[in-house]
């Protein structure tokens, strides 16, 4: 861990001051997630010249623009595909992606699925505000049933996505979800995600008072934060209730959003495996061009 003790010092080190002020509204969760990411980077003591950021389009995707590091601010939904290229060009880079629920679960869903399936070493930080924030509050694939959006003023009838469940099913190495109101767990998870050799997905439930909170009458910023506390449940508590709780408790728990670490496993990573493949094939090429004798030697290996 470095010398830094205060948020002011932290910002001085990691923020790109020329980009201030941010575009974010009062009470937006994006800045909080950025702060957690800075603490994680600081605690890991990473060399920022070896870290690259990528993002799609959305308020959440603006974050790399505010960081004093290399970044690719790409097109809507494609951050993970661009980041795959980044990682392929330099597998030693730590690649961190900031994305939104619309960007990641909606238009970019396919890239998410395939990067998780290949288990590519990258850390996806998804800021889920249940809405397309940047464009002014249209229905997202994460909007809860009944939620109000400008394109669903009558209340949403679509079933929302749970990307943690999806990522887990796809076998991602690390999957976690927290809310911005958790002070320490997010930093710990971002650290674990970055350190994990494989695909890490960390989702933050974060308020968008402008495009979601206001329309859904969730109240002021304080009440918005309380909403997250009241509507989330730790995975461990959920499982305990499902085993030992009464029917009423179970019904209540089922309506809540689970938070915590969903998956933390070690698993072969794509580019590491690829490197092994290249070495193996190069071994073969050498043998092909050389004598039969040496070919046999390689086979024996």
């Amino acid at each position: 861990m470095g010398e830094i003790k205060t948020a002011g010092e932290l910002n001085k080190k990691y923020l790109r001051e020329g980009m201030w002020p941010t575009i974010f509204c009062n009470g937006c969760g994006n800045g909080v997630v950025l702060e957690y990411t800075f603490w994680a980077l600081e605690e890991l003591g990473l060399d920022m010249d070896k870290v690259a950021f990528a993002s799609g389009i959305g308020c959440s995707s603006r974050l790399p623009g505010y960081i004093n590091a290399d970044g690719l601010h790409t097109t809507h939904g494609r951050a993970i595909a661009f980041a795959t290229g980044l990682k392929a060009a330099n597998p030693d880079l730590t690649v961190i992606i900031f994305t939104g629920d619309g960007d990641c679960a909606g238009i970019g869903g396919n890239h998410f699925i395939h990067a998780a399936r290949r288990n590519i070493d990258m850390t996806v930080i998804m800021i889920n505000n249940f809405i397309y924030g940047m464009t002014g509050g249209q229905l997202a694939p994460t909007t809860p049933i009944g939620g109000i959006a400008t394109t669903a003023p009558y209340g949403n009838i679509e079933h929302p996505f749970d990307l943690c469940v999806v990522a887990k099913a796809l076998g991602a190495s690390y999957v976690a979800r927290w809310t911005v109101s958790h002070p320490y767990q997010p930093i710990k998870s971002i650290k674990e995600g970055i350190q994990k050799k494989g695909f890490s997905y960390i989702e933050f439930l974060a308020p968008c008072p402008t495009a979601y909170g206001r329309r859904n009458k969730l109240g002021d910023i304080q009440r918005l934060w309380e909403w997250y506390d009241k509507n989330t449940i730790l995975i461990e508590d959920y499982e305990r209730i499902m085993k030992y709780g009464d029917e009423k408790e179970k019904e209540r728990a089922k309506k809540m959003i689970q938070i915590g670490v969903f998956q933390d496993v070690e698993k072969p990573e794509f580019f590491t495996e690829y490197q092994k493949l290249v070495e193996r094939l190069q071994g073969n090429t050498i043998t092909k061009t050389s004598s039969v004798k040496s070919k046999k030697m390689v086979v024996k290996k």
């Binding site: 389009i57 601010h73 097109t75 809507h76 939904g77 909606g106 238009i107 869903g109 397309y132 940047m134 464009t135 002014g136 249209q138 229905l139 694939p141 959006a149 400008t150 394109t151 669903a152 003023p153 009558y154 679509e158």
Partner: protein, 379 residues
């Protein structure tokens, strides 16, 4: 009704009674589809409205619905339109009369949301009919007219109605809205020539060899030729019924006796009217030909205009490595048939404001013989 271009587009779309609307939000298109959602909430729109997961899906859903033989609508802009590109070709080749609004906006990187026509210009070769509007009234009228055009058996092509970001999409203007009954009379229910029907099975998009494929392309070209005849007919029928006329394939403005004719599209063309008035007041003989349909391209009308006047073309787009696209096409229209001089200007990219004063100074530079054949203005 006084409202923005986008809410007017939503009103027109709802009055055309599409059975299916599928869309994905993008600035500055969002209020078109939000407007439709509001009509749905009020019970004034009874079609299916789907918030799909991308523009590619929006166009795919419109294609599916249109193949079922129902009326469809969508709207997009910029990167959304680019993401649809594959499906735009598909819709046109499958000859599906989908109607879509595109709000002309910059393409990134160099992220920007302002007016620029490169998005729709780069869809030029997809086979879609392309209109460019210069007022909110024209947006309304063109949407209704477009269904009539698209669904005509001699055309059966999708139509894209373009208008500039913010300058029209978010600017309120008074617009005359006819009664629903009058609209219904003008635009009866869509009766498809072909559609997916269990009693008479057909396949859209089946495999096809070279001997037929070329004929498919030729048929599209013929349909565009037919559209060239039908667009003025429909515009005149509209005029008879509603008293408004925005021009045929192009709108001529004070072109009589003009020694120079300015050619432009969209918002720059609207501003050009002010510039033309100003210049004529000062004694310059300059008229305006506002291009309404970029596809089909009004080649014949442009050639005719060039008989007595030199041409000045303003493009809010560029085919990088070549020139402004309208400039290019205008010259091609005259090739070997006219010796009129043609000067081109590229301006207004990335939402740079183009005022009547800018237009006047481009014209003056040309008239004074100081302009290069094609130049940038306002760099």
């Amino acid at each position: 009704m006084i409202d923005t271009g986008n809410y007017i587009a939503a009103k027109a779309a709802v009055m055309a009674k599409p059975d299916v609307v599928a869309a994905y939000p993008i600035t500055p298109q969002t209020t078109v589809v939000e407007g439709i959602a509001n009509y749905l909430e009020k019970g004034e729109f009874t079609g299916e409205y789907i918030c799909v997961e991308s523009e590619h899906s929006a166009m795919s859903a419109c294609i599916g619905a249109s193949a079922m033989g129902v009326r469809t609508f969508t709207a997009t802009s910029s990167h959304g339109l680019l993401l649809m590109h594959e499906m735009l070709h598909w819709a046109a080749l499958a000859r599906l009369p989908i109607v879509m609004c595109n709000i002309n906006r910059v393409i990134g990187p160099g992220w920007n949301i302002w007016a620029d026509e490169n998005d729709s210009i780069s869809q030029r070769d997809t086979g879609w009919i392309q209109f460019y509007c210069s007022s909110n009234q024209e947006i309304f009228d063109t949407i209704i007219q477009s269904y009539k055009l698209a669904e005509n058996e001699k055309v059966l092509l999708p139509v894209m109605i373009n208008y500039n970001a913010f300058i029209l999409s978010h600017t309120s203007m008074p617009v005359d809205i006819p009664d629903q009954r009058e609209i219904d009379e003008f635009l009866p229910k869509f009766k498809p020539k072909w559609n997916l029907d269990i009693n008479n099975p057909v396949t859209f998009g089946n495999i096809i060899g070279p001997e037929y494929y070329i004929k498919v392309r030729k048929a599209m070209q013929d349909a565009h030729k037919n559209a060239k005849k039908l667009i003025p007919e429909i515009a005149r029928e509209w005029k008879k019924k509603f008293g408004r006329f925005h021009g045929d394939l192009l709108e001529k403005y004070r072109c009589d006796d003009a020694e120079y004719i300015l050619l432009a599209m969209g918002a720059i063309a609207a501003e050009s009217k002010v510039a033309v008035d100003e210049m004529q007041r000062k004694g310059l003989k300059i008229g305006l030909a506002r291009i309404r349909t970029f596809r089909p391209f009004p080649k014949e009308s442009i050639l005719q205009l060039s008989e007595n006047a030199d041409l000045i073309v303003i493009d809010r787009n560029i085919s990088v490595g070549s020139e402004g696209v309208l400039f290019n096409e205008v010259k091609a229209a005259l090739y070997h048939k006219s010796d009129a001089r043609v000067n081109g200007f590229i301006t207004g990219l990335g939402g740079r404001d183009v005022t009547y004063k800018d237009i006047e100074s481009m014209c003056r530079k040309t008239v004074e013989g100081k302009a290069n054949e094609c130049e940038w203005y306002g760099i």
